[in-house]
Symmetry: C2
Subunit: 471 residues, 2 copies
């Protein structure tokens, strides 16, 4: 065994025994070399080896960090929803979850919000305040039609990162991604139609499907690669599916990235079976790896993909600024937007356009991604530590949420009620199912900078879950 | 004849001969008394008499003004739409009208916007800028559920002016009145249902009906009193009408106020035939008379009325803040709002709440109402002067739009195209019909302070109309 191999095994042992914690920075190469009395190059090669095996990750200009090791035994199985069209359930639960007023001391793991206290958002606040003072017309005038041109230009520029080369006129600004999804559904379907979705899937979009009088068919979904292409094809053979709606890049709630070859395959199927694709890319720019993966939209030559997104996760949900690039449905979308809410406030659109144009957005994104990745590692660590044996969980590649599968028949709706007593909330798994599955699952938000309060709350969740398990 | 009667006849003559112009202020009582050599009390009583006969109006703390005399011969007839359920037409025209980019020198009579340059809006701008600097969370946080409590409290307070006594929890904040209407329709109907509407009616709400897969039946509507109750009853006998949607107070485009007894009658019918009422009150606070008329909602004891409104006309359309008080459909509305666009930006809601709470809103409203009333009088005057003989027009009791009926078979869609050459635009009447009626009608916006440029543009419209008449 070479010296650097020997040395790397040593560090590996130390990591496994908890001497270096997941997410922790390893000593710099120079420090390590001095303290351990080995050469700089030995440390370098040892670190490289650890990186290759996924034990540590290197961050440019920062150093080496202990990677959160994901044991694949811990991954949930591929989901097995019933493969026939159903009506979406859970109206009441969703309403309760999303409207429950939480007081200040609440530890809210249930939502999907990003960290809006990050300093890198300050310039946006400044720009907005300036505009607010200097250009009151922006506040009073309604941005009709597709929305503010300045912002559409910036969006088009950003979308190049996902391989899309569009014109500002291809974009329709919406009131968040939710309106984008809701209008897209309206554009491609009529009541009674069947929409295929990944499963588990974001409850908001499922509810939009329901409220448009549509049925869903849930496609089995793997926690690392997304919908099963085989299962989808089977469903397409059997049912007149009008569209598939999915969150392929940094999925909510599973955190996977659909492989590029599946994205291409999906488009080929769309052509063959003549259906539309509603691609929810809201977390696409929050994938931890760079450059970010290509979107399905980027491979679309026929205008079949309606790509929906927003700044709710990358910047702040309160802006209520989203967009859709609707391909062949573009004009219809403009019209539907008009009919649904007439237009959108110009001021925050202009502020955001400047924020992006002046480079602040990308800087903020880098900061946020790093924080969320660290948040993920801590959260996984804590869940492993505090949750009952047999707990499974995903290994998110982006976004702000961890999907956890509890052992036994713990009902997370019940667990959530119990947790209220401890001023803590989770998102019960069943919300992410159209048909009452995932009762033993939950989603945890890890956007906030990890701290002891959060740790304690995770511990409480684990303890309560264990108690329910014993009953 | 008493002296004051004699004196009042004198002034009446002078008004009729154009010595005093419509909208002009009469000399103060003191001045009049001095210059004409009659006693103060004679002038006072003469003015009162003129006021009683509708020749002049008194404005508190300001004086007496010449009323625009509306010759009832000039009023359009009651509308006669086909009385059977139809699909709404005119998608393309509406889209074109509302998305046509107009350059700076354009005289746009086509839109429904209020005057957003009024000085009384300045405090709102200031408050908004301050909040923007001091409370960035408001910009980044999403006001979920029903919307910001502070604003809902103010709305409830304002609604007392129309006789409604509600709780803030009865209100759902929406992205403008358009979303309020669109969600209300969704709440009370399913595709294929029939909705009754006044006719002519606002194109935005008709398009929302269309996009929800509903049919409309247009009810004959009188330019002074609104829908014919007899015609409505006949329609209710014949068709399974799910709801009636109307703009009863300061109607768009006709400007009438539906008499209180008809409002009560409508509720009685709703009970008898079991339908819902979608009351669009967006112009309700812009009625020129004070106190403003009561809303249908104020008489509603069964929760059948979904009252939709917004600050788009009373303050500024760019705020995109509206609301719905949905009665028995309240919870459903909250849910539909969530599904459609998740929530709304908190910052402008908070700014608006403070603007209202500090008394600025009501002050602004007074200024705006006075300006629009004057705008109406001028516009009527100019149309009478410049439009071809046989032109008819409404006598709006509130709002910002005059409805004009041209003689002969002038097609106002064509007229509008012609006017583009003169950098002028109108709203063609046919947009306000579900079934291609009102081709010879148009709506003119008079929100801006009357000036020579506007006068010249009205003249151009008249000239072009006359030219088309001769062809
Ligand atoms: C996957 C996904 N799509 C859409 C939305 C809606 O986003 P917005 O707040 O932009 O309407 C969310 C919000 O949580 C989401 O998680
Ligand atoms: C009668 C009527 N209702 C609703 C609307 C839509 O208003 P908002 O801009 O608040 O969505 C308008 C706008 O012109 C209108 O005239």
């Amino acid at each position: 065994m070479k010296l650097y191999e020997q040395f790397s095994t040593e560090i590996k042992d130390q990591i496994e025994h908890g001497y270096y914690q997941p997410g922790q920075k390893l000593p710099s190469i120079r420090d390590m070399s001095t303290t351990r009395g080995v050469s700089i190059s030995t440390v370098q090669e040892a670190y490289h080896l650890l990186e290759d095996t996924g034990m540590v990750i290197s961050k440019p200009k920062s150093g080496y960090y202990v990677q959160q090791q994901q044991n694949t035994d811990l991954l949930p199985d591929i989901s097995r929803p019933e493969q026939k069209p159903v009506d979406v359930a859970h109206w009441d639960e969703v309403l309760t979850l999303t409207t429950t007023e939480s007081h200040h001391n609440f530890v809210a793991f249930g939502g999907g919000a990003p960290d809006i206290t990050l300093k890198t958002l300050k310039p946006l606040q400044r720009i907005h305040a300036e505009l607010s003072r200097q250009q009151p017309r922006c506040l009073f005038e309604n941005a009709k039609g597709n929305g503010l041109e300045e912002l559409r230009e910036q969006i088009v520029r950003l979308m190049q990162n996902s391989g899309c080369f569009l014109h500002p006129d291809d974009i329709v600004i919406t009131t968040g991604c939710q309106e984008a999804l809701s209008l897209s559904l309206k554009a491609i379907s009529k009541p009674g139609d069947i929409i295929a979705i990944d499963s588990p899937s974001f409850y908001g979009s499922m509810q939009a499907i329901q409220s448009n009088g549509l049925k869903v068919i849930e496609i089995p979904t793997h926690p690392e690669t997304g919908i099963s292409m085989t299962a989808l094809e089977l469903a397409l053979e059997q049912w007149p599916i009008k569209a598939i709606q999915l969150i392929p890049t940094s999925n909510n709630p599973l955190g996977y990235i659909m492989p590029e070859k599946n994205k291409r395959k999906l488009l080929a199927l769309a052509e063959r079976y003549d259906f539309a694709i509603i691609e929810d890319d809201i977390f696409g720019d929050l994938v931890y790896q760079t450059p970010r993966p290509k979107s399905i939209k980027s491979f679309d030559t026929e205008g079949r993909v309606l790509m929906c997104s927003s700044f709710s996760k990358t910047v702040a949900p309160g802006l209520r600024i989203g967009w859709v690039a609707a391909g062949r449905y573009g004009e219809l979308l403009t019209h539907l937007k008009f009919i649904t809410s007439l237009g959108s406030t110009a001021l925050p659109q202009l502020a955001l356009a400047k924020f992006i144009q002046q480079g602040y957005f990308e800087k903020h994104l880098r900061t946020a991604r790093t924080q969320y990745q660290r948040g993920r590692d801590c959260m996984i660590h804590w869940v492993q530590q505090y949750f009952p044996e047999g707990t499974k969980m995903t290994y998110p590649q982006g976004g702000v949420g961890l999907w956890v599968e509890l052992p036994g028949d713990i009902d997370t709706l019940e667990l959530n009620k119990e947790l209220l007593k401890y001023d803590t909330a989770i998102a019960p798994g069943t919300l992410f199912s159209a048909s009452d599955k995932y009762r033993n699952c939950l989603r945890l938000n890890y956007a906030t900078v990890p701290n002891d309060r959060i740790k304690a709350a995770v511990k409480t969740i684990g303890e309560q879950a264990s108690l329910m398990l014993k009953k």
